[in-house]
Symmetry: C2
Subunit: 381 residues, 2 copies
């Protein structure tokens, strides 16, 4: 089997697995307990908080652990909405955000907020000027993802933050950076964002853990109520093994990002070259100029992406069509529609996403199987 779906989830890296196991049945205590078992677990959590903070250029007190990227997005958007609703009730986001952002924003809208959804260019980039134009006196929050999960385009977050803050000094900026960490260098303070969401299983950690970066002093209301964990911001017993694994994975991801990028870029370009040679009318979705190295999202006119996905799967190749998080839904991808693809081409899309373990053999396997798969998918359509 050849796994080319790293944007959906990644295999756990050995360092993260070791950290997870150390807290799974060795130091298994509840990190809220006072006794030795609790202290050992707490140390694991705080070490991981330092590792995650270091990986994104934050300080440990700015990291709140969650159950994943979706919860981090919900906490950021609803948490700021709850806290700052009195200051203004306008929120700005983009048309191709992850559903965790779009539906959290819709939740605010149901509660009386006004929402401006900024259009995305056909290159898959959000124009900072559009953000600046959308921000008003009553805009409390802008949310734009750092890296799109389907097409891998990398936003100029620093320019987006600058445009938002130029329009309104007190507007906060959140970024879903779930697809950024591990794929590109991330420094939240250099980007200037006030809040950023991360997910461990996208970067070699385990599923069920994420984090929200909240810049010191930024007000966020808790969305999970209970024992007051995470300084009152997120109640619930911490998933110590998962948190420890996240810390280890974040450290590895930050260390390896440059070397990995270089390697994956070459593989990705070889893949693209081969795809173009095999299917000359293939369409690349989103610019290649500002894109995470491992992503290739392409449409094969006249073929159904879903059919192609199944044919490639039968040939031992795992990739994705549309967003994995939306699987089962056969609606055309809202991301591809947002960058202006006609539904016919959006439906014909396939996402290959390479990662740490990807090899030339994986690329070769795709190129071996693709011509026949595309031909069969076109005949079936």
């Amino acid at each position: 089997m050849h796994y080319l779906d790293h944007a959906a989830t990644t295999p756990i890296v050995p360092e993260a697995k070791a950290a997870l196991l150390a807290f799974l049945d060795g130091d298994f205590g509840n990190p809220a307990s006072v006794h030795a078992y609790g202290r050992a677990a707490r140390r694991g959590v705080e070490d991981a908080r330092e590792q995650v903070a270091a990986a994104i250029g934050a300080s440990p007190a700015e990291i709140t652990f969650t159950a994943g990227g979706t919860e981090a997005d919900n906490l950021a958007i609803k948490g700021v909405g709850t806290k700052l609703g009195g200051n203004g009730n306008h929120v700005v986001t983009s048309a191709f955000e992850h559903h965790a952002v779009l539906h959290s924003v819709e939740h605010l809208q149901d509660g009386g907020f006004q929402v401006t959804v900024v259009e995305v260019g056909s290159d898959g980039l959000v124009d900072p000027r559009r953000i600046g134009d959308a921000v008003r006196r009553d805009t409390i929050l802008v949310s734009v993802m750092a890296v799109n999960n389907e097409i891998g385009t990398v936003q100029d977050m620093a320019a987006i933050v600058a445009a938002a803050k130029d329009a309104n000094r007190s507007t906060l900026v959140h970024s879903d950076a779930v697809q950024a960490l591990g794929n590109i260098p991330v420094d939240v303070h250099r980007l200037g964002v006030d809040l950023a969401s991360f997910s461990a299983h996208k970067l070699g950690g385990a599923k069920g853990v994420g984090a929200l970066f909240v810049r010191s002093g930024v007000p966020v209301a808790a969305q999970l109520h209970g024992g007051g964990h995470e300084r009152g911001l997120r109640s619930g017993t911490l998933n110590t093994p998962g948190v420890a694994a996240f810390g280890a994975a974040a450290e590895v991801a930050a260390e390896e990002v440059h070397a990995k990028s270089e390697r994956l870029l070459k593989l990705r370009d070889r893949l693209l070259e081969g795809v173009r040679a095999a299917v000359p009318d293939v369409v690349v979705n989103g610019t290649l100029d500002a894109r995470v190295p491992g992503n290739l999202n392409v449409s094969f006119p006249g073929a159904s992406g879903e059919t192609l996905l199944l044919l490639l799967d039968a040939a031992g190749i795992a990739c994705s069509s549309g967003s994995a998080c939306q699987s089962g839904a056969l609606d055309p991808s809202h991301v591809l529609l947002a960058i202006g693809l006609p539904p016919r081409l959006a439906d014909a899309s396939i996402r290959f996403s390479l990662g740490r373990a990807s090899s030339e053999e994986d690329v070769r396997a795709v190129l071996d199987a693709l011509p026949e798969a595309v031909e069969r998918a076109r005949k079936a359509a």
Copy 2:
């Protein structure tokens, strides 16, 4: 070290660890993915859903996986509040609920709901008649925990449900059953509850996973918005390894509950006997007649529970004073105050909670260390 804090968290059982590892780096796919990796992960999730359902007498479609007991409580209470707020805005709960319930109910109160907090008897039991008396025409929800986390008292949930439904047929009943599963047999349909919360790490599973039982047809609004996982009720990539471990742990817990109960009851009684012999003026908090077998919550008049906890910890014994989820907070336990203990005695409390791995050696170690610890704690006070 002797671990007598199973109500805070439990070591993972071998069956659960094996299930977790199988989905950690073997079948590591995203369960929402269409390809073979995704299908294998999805099978793991659905097998676990069947196991958890079977362990509590529910059907698989009635199980929604969450990140833990706290999230399940939040989802039940806010989810029903959001959905049924139009039918009435009154909620009933008890004074000694877990903070995840109490603070979720307070969140509804902040949103305009009326709340009746029913008193708890000095025996640690909620009188079903009080529930019946509190339920009104506009009561949409009653939430009473099946087993108290600090004193281990077991509520007569069937009678509580009957009293609530007799007063108002359309009132829904939720129960935080986090401390029930694995400690007593649980059958949600026999109890008659409409919603019930569970946590994997309290019964030999891993941290970071829980479940909400929602009886078929009961309306609940999602609290985490995003990709529409869990039939739209709880978005976010499922923690497949944790979910698989939960399934295995729930199966083991249900199988072993009778034999384990019998064994732990004997150990607990031996512990109580020894404690009474060593410290004759010890006070047992809550009735012994309706209590999970492994729980012993006692107060040592004239000693600080916190000091005792630290002295026992130094002697290699892990136990708890007040709720582990509230650790760091030195306020007297709201549970012990709710059953009528004066703050002085509430502050003097220690909870021993035995579990699957507890042995006679553990009990002996406590009894060896306790007399000196109590004496020193009393002198220090």
